[in-house]
Symmetry: C2
Subunit: 329 residues, 2 copies
């Protein structure tokens, strides 16, 4: 070989080395602590052909809770903040709400009073704002809200309030042949309009709670009308049911942050072969919020105990995440 050719080859090797080094940190927003190491170790062993832990790509199913796991959930679930905004928008068409609970309290700005009615009050607020239109119209309403609303404390659009380490984790899993699914207590139709752009998860890989819909021909045009009737609650015991119904195979990895995700993690862990279960633990009152066993939102109590007993991974947001939101300095 001529010397100049040797130089080119050498340069190519060095460059390839640099590229490899760069590609070797697919999780730059994670500190080099136990959770990151356990994730990488799991992915490496299930993707290594010939290894006893190898899992074929078709079975590399990973499920993620949304509220509190992929994006924030304080001071209230964002979908509920959406519903409150919708009550204000719709109020002029509903003069009766001025004297009808839970709407009267809500419109006076008294959230606590509105929620005094418990689950029944919440269902009424959700149905008044989520039903009575076609699926297409609801999609437009959600898209517009997401595009124009801001989180009351963080003063960022809601889709910026997503956890950068989890975005990296989703991409890392997909780069390793995983299919990533959302399995959330949130509304399936509330998530689908924006999750593909934000998380890279297509509509058919979203599992969530739903209300019933009805097929109708309106002036010969087929529509699906959203009815004020619960169809499915994708929370707690409902998560394995929703996974089975939508995905039809058991995940090998599951990610959550609250007791509402515990059954999903139990179901995932109980399969044969290598399994990975992780809870995101909200411990950072400065950069995000700190809450767990006593919280009214995203309560993590039994889950913390079971994670400890079973050796599941628990992310301490304060210690394990270099940054939480992409907009941080």
């Amino acid at each position: 070989m001529k010397p100049i050719r040797n130089l080119i080859v050498l340069a190519a090797i060095v460059l390839a080395g640099l590229v490899t080094t760069y590609a070797e940190d697919p999780l730059p927003s994670w500190n080099d602590t136990a959770p990151k190491r356990s994730i990488v170790s799991f992915v490496e062993k299930v993707t290594k052909e010939g290894s006893p832990d190898f899992v074929p790509p078709a079975e590399r199913i990973a499920t993620f809770d949304n509220d509190g796991t992929l994006w924030a959930e304080q001071p209230l679930y964002f979908q509920f903040l959406f519903a409150l905004d919708r009550v204000r928008v719709l109020a002029p068409d509903h003069p009766e709400w001025k004297s009808q609970e839970p709407f009267a309290s809500l419109l006076r700005g008294d959230l606590k009073g509105a929620l005094a009615g418990g689950e029944r009050a919440m269902v009424e607020i959700v149905m008044a704002t989520h039903a009575g239109m076609t699926t297409e119209d609801f999609e437009k309403i959600v898209k517009e809200w997401v595009a124009t609303s801001k989180h009351p404390k963080l003063q960022r659009s809601y889709t910026e309030c997503v956890y950068q380490p989890m975005i990296e984790l989703l991409a890392y899993l997909r780069a390793n042949g995983f299919k990533t699914f959302i399995v959330s207590g949130g509304g399936i139709e509330f998530m689908r309009p924006w999750v593909e752009k934000v998380y890279g998860i297509p509509p058919e890989q979203v599992v969530g709670s739903s209300i019933k819909t009805k097929f109708e021909l309106r002036d010969g045009k087929p529509v699906l009308m959203r009815l004020p009737e619960v169809n499915f609650i994708d929370d707690k015991d409902g998560k394995p049911v929703g996974i089975n119904e939508h995905i039809g195979q058991r995940p090998i990895a599951a990610f959550g942050n609250s007791d509402g995700d515990l059954q999903m993690l139990q179901w995932t862990a109980a399969g044969s072969g290598s399994r990975f279960c992780l809870f995101v633990h909200h411990t950072d009152a400065k950069r995000e919020w700190a809450y767990d066993r006593e919280s009214h939102i995203g309560k993590l109590d039994k889950g913390l105990d079971e994670a400890a007993a079973k050796g599941w991974t628990v992310v301490d947001m304060k210690d394990d995440w270099k940054r939480i939101f992409a907009f941080e300095k």
Copy 2:
């Protein structure tokens, strides 16, 4: 160029031509009649970048009915033949069935008598054979039945009674960036154990009818129990509802064979941009079965009229399919 080089180039061009010609017939079991031409024309226009009809891959959703569209459905839906087989297997554990309809008639071989009870009798037979076990156990039962049973008339395993032209069509669409889904009135858990191997469709891309399931811990082990209660009927008006729930976007192509698929085709056709709707019309009494407007199974009546009115594609199985089953000579 030297003459020898010219020869090599010429040979390469000829070879490339041969390869192209071969690759140009992805539908060898289809005669070169109108349906095949309309399929190829549709696929070419929606996949041609820059064309006004171009559809990005993420939106190339194609939905297929199963019974009568991808596999046969005569003399009875195969899942019902499965249920009848299961009644015979389970009868020793149910002495009460000897005097209890519809089981008593069934066990005497009197199918007509058993079905005299109408829908109620059918639901009883389905629940007695499809509920009361875990999802894992049901999967095993289906797999074993599929592996060991034969179609009463064709004397082939049920998974050989699939339409070869449709298998080619599924592969052709996927090769062109489509995501293929089953949307069937059949049981979602009855299809998932075998459709990936037979149709190349993974479990999460199967939409079907279902019974309710319940998450339970049995001796600390999580299971999903199948309950004798209808969850969802994925037929007629239910098909667009099931599509919306599972897929979350409207198909651009839909394939069916009966009035039970009509709403799915209407829903598909009503979207904007290029759309493709197709009915398989059972016209070949010799190679398969011939039935339509008056049939008790797979009735195609309103659908035929609407297809004619709207210019949808109708496959005449006798004239348009070179062969129906792969096992044909």
